[in-house]
Amino acid sequence: MGNNTKEAYEEREEYEMSILDKISDKIIDGVALFINLIKRDWKKRNQSKIQEWKLMAYALNRSPPALLGLVIVIAYIILGIIGPYLASWPYDFFPVMYNSTSRLAAPGSNVFLNVTMVKNWHVIHYTTTVHYSIGSDLFGRDLLSVLLAGARTALVLDVFIILIGPTFGIILGLISGYHGGAIDEIIMRITDMFLAFPGLILAIALSAVLPGRIQNFLNYHPFAQTLVLKLFALEPRDVNNLGKLLAVFVALIIVWWPGYTRIARGSTLTERENLYVEAARAIGLSSRTIMFRHILPNIIGPILVMITMDFGNVILTEAGLSFLGLGAVPPIPDWGNLINQGAQYFPQAWWLVAFPGIVIVTVVLGWNLLGDGLRDILDPRTRRSMEFKVKKKSRTEGGESNA
């Protein structure tokens, strides 16, 4: 017994910092710096939090599926912003009006057009050739251009639905779980009612009945009209198609809150029992501060995962509704609607099902991969059980002192 242990520290295993680790460190430092601009001394007070974020990022960097998901999601967001400007042809230019062979043109084909149109009160004449790299739709529109323009429709619906529906649901859940009693009972009974509906049926019913009222509202509110047109990158003359598009938007918000209410309430109930809540109440913090400043950050992990995956689910459901002919109708560019067009001519016009299908699957899969990776990283239990591979052995002298 009593082996000599002087050599014990000389050879020390270390994780290799990959280039990704360095990038994520930079990003997190940047974010911290930014928050520091808004809140003074934030960085100083939250050193350990920043460190923890960096460590979580290292875990993410070691999960190839999650990274793939992240790349897809970033690409989707970028395309959603600049997609309409990348499209070679405007979404409301219908070649089929000038040459009927452009209807359902096969991938790779070229169609010659002799265009006569009215623009700014002038009649214009010109000829052009459209190259359909991945085919055309019923109106002879270049599928690639419509897909690019459709990214904006998808992204705007996606972001705003997730921003509104789940937020509303989480707030209700916090209130319900924190206050308990009659408030809880009422909120949860209403939530149950909405949960007892199959989401798709409720969304279908709402998308069918709402367009009239929404169109009416828009016709009386020109500012809202312009805003919506700008958001979706649509031309002013499409204003009469907005009712159906926004009906889907409202329908999905109504469908999307109850799940979050239930989750948020459940975790709030367990969190409420913790000592820190008792302490916060004892020093006289308001319910609102306790709920949003203290409870919410502690229950947000699983909810963030759910939100990430729901970004995909919203796309899926929205596309499902337009597949059924609800929501976006031509000329509004929409991925689900393209498949709706193609379905009637399947399998002849296979590209109208295949390419939008691939786009939808890819984007939804991206969100799901990212969400799945986040689940592993945000859950402290699985995070701790991840095993890191040792890449190299470096020789260092002793440990770093932390005396």
């Binding site: 190839p64 599926p65 009974r189 209403i190 149950d192 009612m193 909405f194 949960l195 007892a196 509906f197 199959p198 798709l200 049926i201 279908i204 019913a205 709402l206 069918a208 009945v209 709402l210 009239g212 009222r213 995909g312 899926l316 596309a319 499902g320 597949f323 059924l324 689900g336 498949i339 379905a343 399947f346 399998p347 296979w350 099902v353 299908g357 939808i360 699957v361 939804v364 899969l365 799901n368 991969l369 799945d372 239990r381 059980s385 095993e387």
Partner: protein, 333 residues
């Protein structure tokens, strides 16, 4: 099990407000929001004023809203509420179609269990390996693919290319009916030829409908297995010297407790998730009926269908609770 009766009554009572609420919500969606459904029922824009008035009187549409609502609910319970489109009582329509939907959900469920459970378990046992990564991505692909894209892909492969299914008509039920679910009856009565007919018509829509749920089940099973594996009791089993196969048997049994209850909910979800599948595969079930009732603003039918969906939801939850109590000795009613 003595408490089961009491438990059912207690649970049944808490569901009453849910059912009332659901029908109220549909009522609001159907009668308050849209401008004028009656015109559509009477035959669109060209409907005569007299016809419209007649329909209004028949469905109490010129009465206050609570009277309209009570009329609908009473009509549902006595099955005297007629579907304005074909003048058949709503629940008679639903009953006939429910058999198709139930059989579709049954086929889907078969595939869900067949794929979801074993793949989820394999994924968990081989955790953090390449196999696990591939299976996890596969499950996510299942979840991420729109059902209609999947449907057209499968139709192209299995119908157009290999002709392994029929896509038209509905095979007749076997002559001797016991459960009124054709495929089950054909098995019970050993009617082989009818069984084959049912399978040929239903396997592909069932497979399509089940794919996403199978992905969900794979993930749930994997997580549940790993959760059970990480418990102290598993370490204690190892410390006891229990061999691997037996260790996994313990873990699996523990993992299946939540999985079984999820299965009940998933079956409910499959029953309610059929609209698109039934549309594409041309199956006259509840989902298609619900879609048509929305398209034609046929709201008596829509109320009937959503009422049915709410009952399915409530029943699935109840069965999940009962199963939970049956498989876990810690839970009593």
């Amino acid at each position: 099990m003595a408490g089961l009766g009491k438990f059912l009554v207690r649970r049944g009572l808490t569901f009453v407000p849910t059912l009332i609420g659901v029908t109220l919500i549909v009522f609001i969606i159907a009668y308050v929001i849209p401008a004028n459904p009656v015109r559509a029922w009477a035959g669109g824009e060209k409907a005569t004023k007299a016809a419209v008035e007649l329909i209004k009187a028949e469905y109490h549409l010129n009465q206050p809203w609570y009277d309209q609502y009570l009329f609908l609910i009473k009509g549902l319970f006595t099955n005297s509420l007629l579907d304005p489109l074909n003048q058949v009582p709503v629940f008679t329509n639903i009953g006939n179609r429910f058999i198709v939907t139930f059989q579709l959900a049954l086929f889907a469920f078969f595939f869900v269990v067949l794929m979801g459970l074993p793949l989820g378990i394999i994924s968990a046992i081989k955790r953090n390996s390449i196999t696990d990564m591939v299976l996890r991505i596969l499950a996510l692909v299942f979840i991420s693919t729109p059902i209609y894209v999947m449907a057209y892909l499968f139709i192209w492969v299995f119908f157009i290319h290999w002709n392994l299914t029929t896509l038209a008509g509905i095979p007749p039920a076997p002559p001797h009916q016991i459960t009124h679910i054709p495929v089950i009856d054909s098995i019970i009565t050993l009617n082989w030829s009818n069984f084959v007919e049912q399978v040929q018509r239903f396997w592909l829509p069932g497979f399509t409908l089940g794919i996403a749920a199978a992905g969900v089940l794979m993930r749930f099973t994997r997580n549940s297995f790993l959760e059970a594996y990480s418990r102290d009791s598993t370490l204690f089993l190892k410390a006891k010297g229990v061999p691997k196969s037996r260790l996994y048997r313990h873990v699996l049994k523990n993992a299946l407790v939540p999985v079984i209850t999820i299965l009940a909910l998933q079956f409910g979800g499959l029953l309610a998730g059929t609209p698109i599948t039934e549309t594409i595969f041309n199956l006259p079930g509840i989902g298609l009926y619900a879609l048509q009732s929305v398209m034609y603003l046929d709201f008596p039918a829509l109320i009937g269908v959503t009422f049915l969906y709410a009952i399915v939801f409530v029943t699935a939850n109840l069965i999940a609770d009962i199963l939970y109590a049956l498989v876990d000795p810690r839970v009593r009613f």
